[in-house]
């Protein structure tokens, strides 16, 4: 054990980060924070990819991470844009206020 990070440890961290993201997504009411939580979940998945890539000695996982990060950047840009647009029209980013689909 020469201080090298075990893949299993990385997976555990990823699980914890994913849990934080999920928990935040479910309980926070602010859309912006929810968006950040989604990013957290996404990054935990990336972490998993890296871990499994290391575990299997394959470069495919690392490669996928690069793709995912690219898409995630685009996705968060769109998400932020949507949140801003919603804030403009509805004057709020609180999910309790935004229930227009219900009626």
């Amino acid at each position: 054990m020469n201080g090298e990070i075990q893949p299993m440890m990385m997976v555990v961290v990823a699980l914890i980060v994913f849990g934080i993201g999920l928990f935040g997504l479910l309980i926070r009411k602010n859309l912006l924070i929810m968006l950040m939580c989604i990013e957290l979940m996404l990054n935990s998945v990336n972490l998993c990819f890296v871990a499994f890539s290391k575990m299997h000695q394959s470069v495919l996982g690392d490669l996928t991470v690069l793709f995912v990060m690219t898409v995630a950047a685009a996705e968060s840009a769109v998400g932020l844009g949507l949140v801003i647009a919603m804030f403009r029209t509805l004057k709020s980013v609180d999910t309790d206020q935004i229930q227009i689909l219900r009626d």
Binding site: L22, I27, K29
Partner: protein, 619 residues
């Protein structure tokens, strides 16, 4: 021989006048009665010439093969049913063609004078030509659907002309009544066609006549055809429309409701006489209905005060005579009476029209009187018609009517009761006709002062047809003389001659009584008995069938439609609503709640597969 001109000329007249009328509605310039009437009359006269020409051509053919078919175009053909648009000229249709075009042209001519002041004469003449076109189709059609085409077409033209002055809801109603009652009869025609198709396999009259059917079907077919005739020819039970049909212009009453359309029932029976005469039941029903109609409507006619209504009931009664002729299996006498009746009844209607015209639309006979001097031509021609309908020799009615009376006793299907009823009807006929003549022309005048001054004889276009028809009423019967004499000779001379004498004597007695009773009438008579209202038969139909249908319809609309059908739908809607409401609970609206559900579902699925929860669940 080409028959298409015969029917196409009135059609062209109809189209030209129709277009003229429609154009006049757009540039609001009235088409004069002379122009439109001239077109229509010329069309009819040419058609009459064609009919005459074809009549003589037909006469030249050998006696056995006096039949000419002209196929115009195939009509419809489907799975064994094939019907062509074929015109067929034989002696029967030839006679009818002559009557229709001949009397028709005269009435067209008369209408030019009568409709002179009307707002849209082009429309009137278009309808009149349409009627003649349809009527010619009716008598020339070689197949049942072709006759039905004309049959419905004349009904339509009659509807249009009865309700010609459509501003008056009452007249519109009269037209509607005529059309609907005709259509009730048409059910008989339609079903007869279905039966003919099913059992004969063809709708051509010759095929139908040549194919023997089983007795029940023959009777059914005959009775259905007869039912159709009761509608068109105003017999019991469907006769009440004809008196109301007098709402139309008087020339229309003369043409459609006296001379031609109402006799199409006789035409149809004559056309199908093989089928009719093959069943004794059919014959006796026809004779009984004809006799009852002849008698009852003669009674009603005695109580009428409207000049046109008297003539209308008289027409119904005379049609009854014709049906009796058919009913005793002696169709030719019926057809002969159709011809003579067309002459004298058209004459009387036109005479009545002349009177009404002179008196500014006055129709009550008790407000007339003493018109003999003022309307001499009308009077003398009317007298010719009167003598004809009374059956005085040598006027035309004498020949045809006496033949029917003789046959009602002496034919194998005739009987004493039938004969007595017919004699009574003939007696009543003489009575009400003399009453009419006396009240209008001979008795002291009961007209208002203003009316009396302005009374004048009608112009020549109106009196000329009167004179022609007057002559025809005298000589019309002579055409049938050869047949007549042959049959009278055959009918065991003495009793036949006795009946002849008796009927003439009876008519004279009735005329004398009527003259005595009404000759000195000076004041307006108020009759209010049941006979005047046509024994309330019409009121009964109205309340029973008319309102009955309406009530059933309303009941259906309110009860079945609203309470059953719509309620069923409402229940279905309620079920859908309920299930929707139940499922709605899950739709709380908060996005985080949805997310929660989503993840719970994902965990559940994961649990199912990863941790083997599924193996404990048993389905």
């Amino acid at each position: 021989m080409n028959l298409s001109y015969l029917i196409l000329l009135p059609l062209f007249g109809f189209l030209i006048n129709g277009v003229l009328y429609l154009r006049s509605t757009r540039n609001s310039k009235k088409v004069s009665a002379e122009l439109s009437g001239g077109i229509a009359t010329v069309a009819m006269l040419l058609s009459f010439a064609a009919a005459l020409y074809n009549f003589f051509l037909l006469r030249q053919l050998p006696a056995e093969g006096q039949l000419f078919d002209q196929m115009l175009f195939p009509w419809f053909k489907l799975a064994g049913m094939s019907v062509d648009f074929t015109l067929r000229l034989d002696p029967l249709s030839s006679v009818f063609c002559l009557v229709i075009t001949g009397v028709g042209s005269l009435i067209h001519l008369y209408s030019i004078g009568y409709m002179h002041h009307d707002a849209a004469p082009a429309k009137y003449f278009a309808y009149l030509n349409l009627f003649c076109f349809m009527m010619l189709n009716l008598v020339l059609g070689a197949t049942m659907p072709h006759v039905f085409f004309g049959w419905e077409g004349v009904g339509l033209a009659s509807y249009l002309l009865i309700g010609y002055w459509y501003h008056d809801p009452e007249k519109v109603g009269a037209g509607m009544k005529a059309f609907v009652m005709n259509r009730i009869g048409d059910i008989g025609f339609l079903v007869a066609m279905f039966i003919a198709y099913k059992f004969v396999g063809s709708l051509d009259f010759i095929q139908i006549a040549n194919t023997p059917l089983n007795p029940e079907m023959t009777t059914t077919l005959g009775l259905l055809v007869f039912f159709a005739c009761t509608g068109k020819s105003a017999q019991i039970p469907l006769f009440t429309w004809l008196p109301d049909a007098m709402a139309g212009p008087t020339p229309v009453s003369a043409l459609i409701h006296a001379a031609t359309m109402v006799t199409s029932g006789i035409y149809l029976l004559a056309r199908m006489h093989t089928t009719i005469e093959a069943s004794a039941t059919t014959l006796s029903v026809i004779a009984a209905v004809g006799a009852c109609t002849a008698f009852i409507s003669a009674v009603i006619a005695c109580a009428q005060t409207d000049i046109k209504k008297i003539l209308a009931y008289s027409t119904v009664s005379q049609l009854g005579f014709m049906f009796v002729a058919c009913g005793v299996g002696f169709t030719i006498a019926g057809v002969f009476h159709v011809m003579t009746h067309a002459f004298f009844k058209a004459l009387m209607f036109l005479g009545a029209g002349s009177v009404i015209h002179a008196l500014h639309e006055e129709q009550d006979v008790f407000k007339m009187g003493g018109l003999r001097k003022k309307l001499p031509i009308t009077f003398w021609t009317f007298v010719a018609g009167w003598a004809a309908i009374l059956g005085l020799p040598p006027f035309s009615g004498f020949f045809s009517k006496d033949e029917i009376l003789i046959q009602s006793l002496q034919s194998p299907h005739g009987s004493m009761p039938l004969f007595l009823v017919m004699m009574a009807a003939a007696f009543l006929t003489a009575f009400y006709m003399t009453r009419l003549l006396v009240l209008v022309f001979l008795s002291p005048s009961r007209m208002g002062q203003g009316v009396e001054k302005s009374v004048h004889e009608s112009p020549l276009v109106m009196t000329l047809p009167l004179m022609v028809l007057g002559v025809a009423s005298v000589v019309g019967g002579w055409f049938g003389l050869p047949i007549h004499e042959a049959h009278v000779e055959e009918a065991a001379g003495s009793s036949g001659r006795f009946i002849m004498l008796a009927s003439v004597a009876l008519a004279l007695v009735a005329a004398f009584i009527a003259y005595k009773k009404y000759g000195k009438t000076t004041k307006v008579e108020q009759v209010n008995d049941i006979a005047r209202e046509g024994f309330k038969i019409d009121a009964f139909y109205l309340s029973f069938f008319g309102n009955g249908t309406k009530n059933v319809a309303r009941w259906m609309g309110n009860l079945i439609e609203q309470q059953v059908i719509q309620r069923m739908i409402r229940w279905t809607v309620a079920i859908v609503d309920l299930s929707g409401n139940l499922l709605k609970v899950a739709q709380v609206g908060s996005s985080q709640a949805y997310l929660m559900m989503m993840f719970l579902a994902i965990f559940a699925v994961l649990a199912w597969f990863l941790f083997g929860v599924g193996q404990y669940a048993k389905f």
